[in-house]
């Protein structure tokens, strides 16, 4: 009897192999015609603007906020799933606990909301 994860591992190996093969083969089958412009960043101007982006570049802070909110809610989900699986055996105590948990999260959510954390423009 096989471990149930083995097919998943095989699938992963096949997928990885396929992807790596594709990436590796691409420069070999394709033509190569040198042109300096090809190696510049794609931009509409004549001269590409200086690159603040790769390494040490700073990104708009709104994205960090989104990322932090995502982590918070993701953690919330991490707690909700096990509860959902065993909801029936936890009875009313579980119901009360999980509702309180969501409510506590909701408070923080409301705070962020009403103080402009969800304003994107």
């Amino acid at each position: 009897m096989l471990d149930p994860y083995i097919p998943l591992v095989l699938m992963f190996a096949l997928a990885l192999g396929f992807a790596v093969f594709s990436v590796a083969i691409a420069p070999l089958v394709g033509p190569r015609r040198y042109n300096k412009a090809k190696f510049d960043a794609y931009e509409c101007g004549i001269e590409p603007s200086p690159q603040p982006t790769v390494g040490g570049g700073r990104m708009p802070v709104a994205y960090y906020l989104t990322a932090m909110l995502f982590i918070l809610f993701d953690i919330e989900m991490v707690f909700l799933y096990p509860y959902a699986v065993s909801a029936d055996s936890l009875g009313m105590f579980g119901v009360a606990a999980v509702v309180l948990f969501i409510a506590t999260f909701g408070f923080a959510d409301l705070y962020v909301w009403y103080r402009g954390g969800f304003e994107w423009n």
Partner: protein
Amino acid sequence: MGVTTQTGAVILAQQSIAPPPIHYSAIAPVLIVLGAACLAVLVEAFVPRRLRWSVQVGLSLCTLVAAGAWLVVYARGEPMGLTTLADTLAIDTPTLFLWGTLLVLGLASILLIADRSVEPGGAFVAESSAAPSPSPRAASGGSTGGTATSIAPAPTPAPARATASVAEMRTEVFPLGLFSLGGMMVFCAANDLLTMFIALEALSLPLYVMCGLARRRRLLSQEAAVKYFLLGAFASAFFLYGLALLYGYAGSVELSAIADATAGSLRSDTLLFAGLGLLVVGLLFKGSVGPFHMWTPDVYHGAPTAVTGFMAACTKVAAFGAILRVLHVAFEASSWEWHWVLWTVAVVSMVIGAVLGLTQSDIKRMVAYSSIAHAGFLLIGAITLTDEGLSATLFYLLAYGVTTIAVFGVISLVRTSEGEATHLSAWSGLAKRSPLIAWVFTFLLLALAGIPLTSGFMGKFVVFSAALTAGMAPLVVIALVASAVAAFFYLRVIVLMHFNEPAPDGPTVSVPGAFTTAAITLGVVVTLLLGVLPTPVLDWASVGGFVS
């Protein structure tokens, strides 16, 4: 693998799980504080800005009073020590005493934080950040006037100045303070290491933010916040790593289980002592015990003074509450192997605090080093591992915390037009300008130095006598020398205030508002009372030890 998990899940689904019993009345103070903190978050969201300050202050003060009242009622019922919430919290006499201490200190700190008369608008930022993009808000924003003038050649328009002078502080500091206080209360009641770790995070994270909220000297304040955060993260990591090793040693994170494991087992002592060492480093960091004190001077210096008071008093109480519990409950049996390490730490802390305190020229940094020295004294009480030492340490914590908050309250009053005048030279001749404040400060410094008739003396006396009884005479001698050295720098400030001529452009002493007055008065009265009539408090502190 998967098969067994799934069979487990099937069985799990069939039986219903009994919820753990919860003693609501015992943990009510924590619930009140944390519930109010949640409520305060909602207040931030929904109450219009004009009303926020008053609502928040009212809510915070009511919360602390309500929690304190419940605590008093509960404690008067002579409760048995108990553990609740599936043995994660232990509500015993030391817990109740520490909670009481925390609530009193929290009340004083909230009073200091709430003050808006010393620094018009409050000592906290009016905006959480300056608006870097052109917007109508930036012009009307709080304290932008002065610096804007220095950067932009054009003078700031008059309306901006007018609004700048009334810009009120942001009030997030109140929910943050309540959350932190709730974390501290859980921290000193935690009966297993995991709960303790969560409480550690709950108390630390709001503090990091609070440190960065000063209205004046923004850069210093933010530097303090970042420094505290980075070092605090390290300390948390140490704590967590120690927790993991101890779990590996004892197979449980519960303090009582660790105690059982240490009492005569053949397991690897390496895990035990490595775990204990890392765990204690994390705790000592929070208590700002040398040599883990590096953050203390900078953070105390940079943080808003009211927050410094909160940190210095409440965090120390919580940290030592946890140290006491961990050492007493979990590691008493193995104390013979580790006690010399903490002896060394205590000595180092006292020496660092006393000697480096001498060289400071800034009053907040000086108090910071004084707190490091005091942490050394507290640690002496904590490592006696006797009931006498326990009650002495608890008493010392209360005495020290109350005095410290009052000290920071006074510091916030002495100001120039640039804000607080924390450099020592600015304090010379203060008695001639403002004798009352000078005398109050003198009294508080004497209490920190441990002169009789103050709480500081009683605290040191009970701690040192407990240590002597426990056979730690050499440590007591060193402690006495250290407190003599430390007394020198307190006395230097006193001499400076009373016998020097005031500088011509020296600071003024602001007339404190009702809140600061209340906080300082509370501190002075309690300091005096504990110095003159320590018995009732000592009695309360010495009823019973930890349960687990």
